[in-house]
């Protein structure tokens, strides 16, 4: 069953997703995309009469991050007066999740504290093997070279390893817990589950504490050593080390000032928090070894209701690494472009999506007509932007490193745009086949970027050729797709012009810069785009308006999306900043209006986040709650871009432009 997380945490090797009540939904090791080892893992209390599963409806929860860290606090309150405080953190250096449970009760109680797990080690319920080493008090489950272990302080006093789904139901750990006593079976194979338990003796208002270590390793001996070493360290020491790790990493960020926002109902602080949270979230979606990012932690691995999100798309990641670069973390660009060099297809394009190690992922874009050409355009565009901020030797080396990749990608784009518009392919939403405004704009930006890189590399002939084609694409897109109503058509579908308004047409301005506010005609075109998208795609919810993808969108109920809404606010902020110098006064009213409306959209996006501040892909149009993929890296990157632009506006307004 599909369950979306409310919070994520991890380190370079481990990514953990959790529900709002501290139930583990996913445990990815050693990569963010593979393997996901957990089906279910959570605490449970036996009151002496019955089991209270901590993810039951009877518990109320408050969950948040410890400020500026990926350490999670979850507080659970049960109607019966039992309260559990959970502190979750992943050690910064080893793939071990540490869970401290503090159980309190208003009334005296005598029962059990259980920790139950249904692990699918190696992302499979098949051929697993589990054992409980009662001397080492380590419970482990393994498949091939994946080992997941559970250790605890104080040591657990009872345990069970049983069949998760078999006719011998009484060995099933879940049922075994019912009578408040575990059978202590020490090993089993197949589709298995496990539980460990402790006596829970509480005086009225008394408390018991249990610390559970859930570790991963590539061998049995490494698992033992890790757990043993870690268990010797005081929890306070691990907590401090973990906190310091995150705070130090955040210290590298570009510092925000946001002067002039002090009076906006705590907005300044909210934006500071959102900025930090987006950065910390993106850290967790990145594969440090390969440089790639998952779009979101996978939550639909069976592709039951969508095509899955636990893969790397060039389109999303190009925006993510640029946002990180703008935020003070250029190294993500460097690693990602190395990954791009490795993953480019022989024809010069990039595939729909990849596993993080660069293998091509499950796809419905295997042919020329079903590929997404915008991903190649986006990648080239991002490479050029990165190149422009480099200096000295680094600049030279980067160009040398990517040149052949750029050449092949640009020639691929040339091959597929001979008529001025791109050949038929799939759109960025991965739904329609045809010719699209967004895709043409991305190709324009890709070829312009490639042209600049060629110029820098002394290849002026190529530079001219690619630039000429880019300008041809721009003209053809405007000629064919710009409508009298004041916006671009979505594109050509089934050989007919589709006038549906689609928020992605904003791509013609942001991020691809095909239109520029410096040109008076294009300036008006951008303002018309903004106005029409607001008019036709707004959905009122959460005391504001979110922007849906396009008219008649039916994917997951046609909700408003964070990225489409933040595209709009980004376009507003960028427009304000892009106005020709000296002409801002002429547009004073427009500037004021766009800034103020942009802030409203930004606030709307913040209101759609989880209680922990993670930005989803969508916001439920009926409930206003975060919907579908959580967290979505692309949403986070747009939040960063928006905040940085607003920071610039604030500084400029304050006469303190840096």
């Amino acid at each position: 069953m599909i369950k979306q997380p409310n919070v994520i945490l991890g380190n370079d090797e481990l990514l953990v997703t959790m529900g709002r009540k501290g139930d583990i939904l996913g445990l990815f090791y050693p990569r963010r995309d593979h393997a996901q080892h957990v089906e279910e893992s959570l605490a449970c209390i036996h009151t002496g009469e019955k089991l209270l599963w901590t993810n039951d409806n009877d518990w109320h929860s408050i969950q948040n991050y410890i400020e500026d860290t990926n350490i999670v606090s979850t507080k659970l309150y049960h109607d019966s007066g039992i309260r559990i405080s959970i502190l979750d953190l992943v050690h910064p250096e080893v793939p071990v999740l540490i869970r401290r449970f503090k159980v309190q009760s208003q009334q005296k109680m005598s029962g059990k504290f259980f920790y139950y797990s249904n692990l699918n080690v190696g992302e499979t319920p098949k051929k697993n093997s589990g054992f409980c080493d009662t001397e080492a008090r380590l419970l482990a489950q393994y498949w091939q070279n994946y080992y997941i272990g559970i250790y605890a302080l104080p040591e657990f006093t009872e345990w069970q390893i049983g069949k998760a789904m078999d006719t011998i139901w009484w060995t099933n750990s879940k049922y075994d817990m019912e009578d408040g006593k575990l059978q202590r079976n020490k090993e089993d194979i197949g589709n298995i589950n496990n539980a460990v338990g402790w006596d829970l003796e509480l005086e009225a208002d008394g408390a018991n504490e249990f610390v559970i270590f859930i570790g991963a390793a590539s061998s049995r001996s490494l698992l033992y050593k890790r757990m043993h070493e870690l268990s010797k360290l005081p929890l306070e020491h691990i907590f401090e080390k973990t906190r310091e790790h995150w705070v130090m990493w955040l210290a590298k960020k570009h510092v925000l000032k946001m002067p002039g926002l002090e009076g906006h109902n705590n907005l300044r602080q909210e934006l500071f928090n959102a900025y930090n949270r987006a950065l910390l979230m993106l850290y967790l979606l990145n594969d440090r070894e390969h440089g790639s990012f998952v779009a979101a932690p996978e939550f639909d691995s069976h592709f039951e209701k969508c095509g899955g999100y636990g893969f790397c798309w060039n389109r999303d990641t190009s925006e993510v690494v640029l946002a990180l670069k703008h935020s003070g973390y250029p190294e993500y660009c460097d690693r990602f472009f190395k990954w791009c060099i490795r993953t480019q297809l022989p024809n010069g394009s990039w595939f729909q999506r990849y596993w993080l190690n660069g293998d091509i992922a499950p796809s419905w874009g295997n042919f020329d007509y079903s590929t997404q050409i915008d991903e190649t355009g986006s990648t080239l565009h991002a490479m050029d932007i990165y190149y422009r901020i480099l200096e000295g030797l680094k600049k030279v080396e980067f160009l040398e490193e990517v040149w052949v990749t750029v050449l092949r990608a640009a020639e691929y784009l040339m091959k597929r745009t001979k008529s001025g518009l791109h050949e038929s392919c799939m759109d960025l939403w991965e739904t329609y086949y045809g010719v699209f405004t967004y895709t043409n704009a991305s190709i324009y930006a890709g070829l312009m970027g490639a042209s600049h890189l060629a110029e820098e590399n002394g290849e002026s002939g190529m530079a001219r050729r690619w630039k000429k084609r880019a300008e041809f694409i721009k003209q053809a897109t405007i000629d064919r797709f710009w409508l009298q109503e004041g916006y671009f058509a979505k594109g050509i579908l089934n050989e007919k012009l589709d006038k549906t308004i689609d928020a992605s047409i904003l791509g013609a301005y942001m991020p691809f810069g095909m239109l520029s506010p410096k040109d008076p005609v294009e300036r008006d075109m951008i303002l018309f785009l903004i106005e029409n998208i607001q008019k036709k795609l707004s959905i009122p919810i959460n005391a504001g308006n979110g922007i849906k993808r396009y008219e008649n969108d039916s994917y997951i109920d046609g909700n408003p999306w964070i990225i489409t809404t933040l595209w709009l606010s980004e376009a507003m902020f960028a427009f304000v900043l892009d106005l020709p110098k000296g002409q801002e006064g002429q547009y004073a009213e427009e500037v004021k209006k766009l800034t103020s409306e942009g802030i409203k959209y930004l606030r709307w996006a913040l209101a759609g986040a989880t209680s922990t501040g993670l930005l989803p892909e969508q916001v439920d149009k009926s409930t206003g709650k975060p919907a579908w993929a959580i967290p979505l890296g692309w949403s986070g990157s747009l939040m960063l871009d928006n905040i940085l632009l607003l920071d610039k506006i604030c500084r400029r307004n304050a006469g303190n432009q840096e």
């Binding site: 319920p125 098949k126 069949k163 789904m165 078999d166 006719t167 011998i168 139901w169 009484w170 060995t171 099933n172 049922y175 059978q183 079976n185 089993d188 194979i189 197949g190 589709n191």
Partner: protein, 268 residues
């Protein structure tokens, strides 16, 4: 228990199928005047049932066939005027095929539905054909149902070693799941359950393996909840495999047993 009726009636253009739900006070002899009155009004009673709502009042639900010329409003009012009658509700089955009085249905304390046996068997078959561990999954699903049934029976009547199997037999028959013969030693919990006309085996069609794992799980859940001990129930013979009846063996669960050490195939 079952507080609803359904019926099938042939086509008769001159009459209609009408249900009445009559709430009455349960004084001695209070029901007879109601039935007499209906008969005198030329109301053809097709089917009816009584429900003792509590010590003071009861409910008489009746399906009738009544001539088109009868004014139902008038008839209803006359019934309501009878001395013991507290309230009358009525409705017409427009299509003369199937109709219910109460909604929603309720069986052993929870919402119930009437489903065609193939509806459930299609689910079971789909699981068997597609889901890994289908037999285990069905056992666990049945287990929950059996545990609920035993809990419910314990809550409404005293269950003891002499009668603990009889509500289960009644329930299976009442809901159309099968006819049970249960032999179970209340001390050792050794025994067997014969299921005649199991709805699963009847509808499933031919199979090389027993197909009533859901029922095995149900029996295990029921007996486990009653006894407080883990009870194992295994179907060793199934009508779907060509036998006359289905047979489930009862025994105390042994923690040491592992399916890896259990013979698979013919007897499973």
């Amino acid at each position: 228990m079952v507080r609803d009726l359904c019926m099938f009636a042939g086509l008769n253009e001159n009459s209609k199928i009408v249900w009445f739900k009559i709430t009455y006070s349960k004084d001695p002899g209070s029901l007879s005047p109601i039935i007499d009155f209906l008969e005198k009004q030329s109301v053809l009673i097709r089917i009816g049932h009584f429900d003792n709502m509590n010590m003071e009042t009861g409910e008489y639900s009746v399906f009738t066939e009544i001539g088109n010329e009868v004014d139902l409003e008038e008839l209803s009012r006359k019934i309501e005027e009878l001395e013991a009658v507290l309230k009358v509700e009525y409705g017409i089955s427009e299509n003369r095929m199937i109709h219910g009085v109460d909604f929603p249905l309720n069986v052993i304390g929870v919402r119930a539905i009437i489903a065609r046996a193939p509806t459930l068997v299609d689910i079971i078959r789909t699981l068997n054909e597609n889901a890994p561990h289908a037999e285990g999954l069905l056992t666990l699903s049945g287990l929950k149902g059996g545990i609920h049934a035993a809990k419910y029976f314990k809550s409404i009547m005293p269950l003891d070693d002499n009668n603990f199997t009889s509500p289960l037999v009644e329930l299976y028959k009442a809901v159309g799941w099968g006819i049970l013969e249960i032999e179970c030693d209340p001390v050792t919990f050794e025994g067997k359950i014969i299921v005649r006309d199991s709805f699963i085996a009847d509808v499933y069609g031919e199979s090389e393996q027993p197909v009533c794992a859901y029922m095995s799980g149900y029996f295990a859940g029921y007996l486990t909840e009653y006894s407080g001990k883990a009870i194992k129930v295994r179907e060793i013979s199934c009508k779907a495999t060509g036998k006359n009846v289905c047979e489930h063996i009862i025994s105390l669960a042994s923690p040491s047993i592992s399916p890896e050490h259990q013979p698979r195939g013919d007897t499973r």
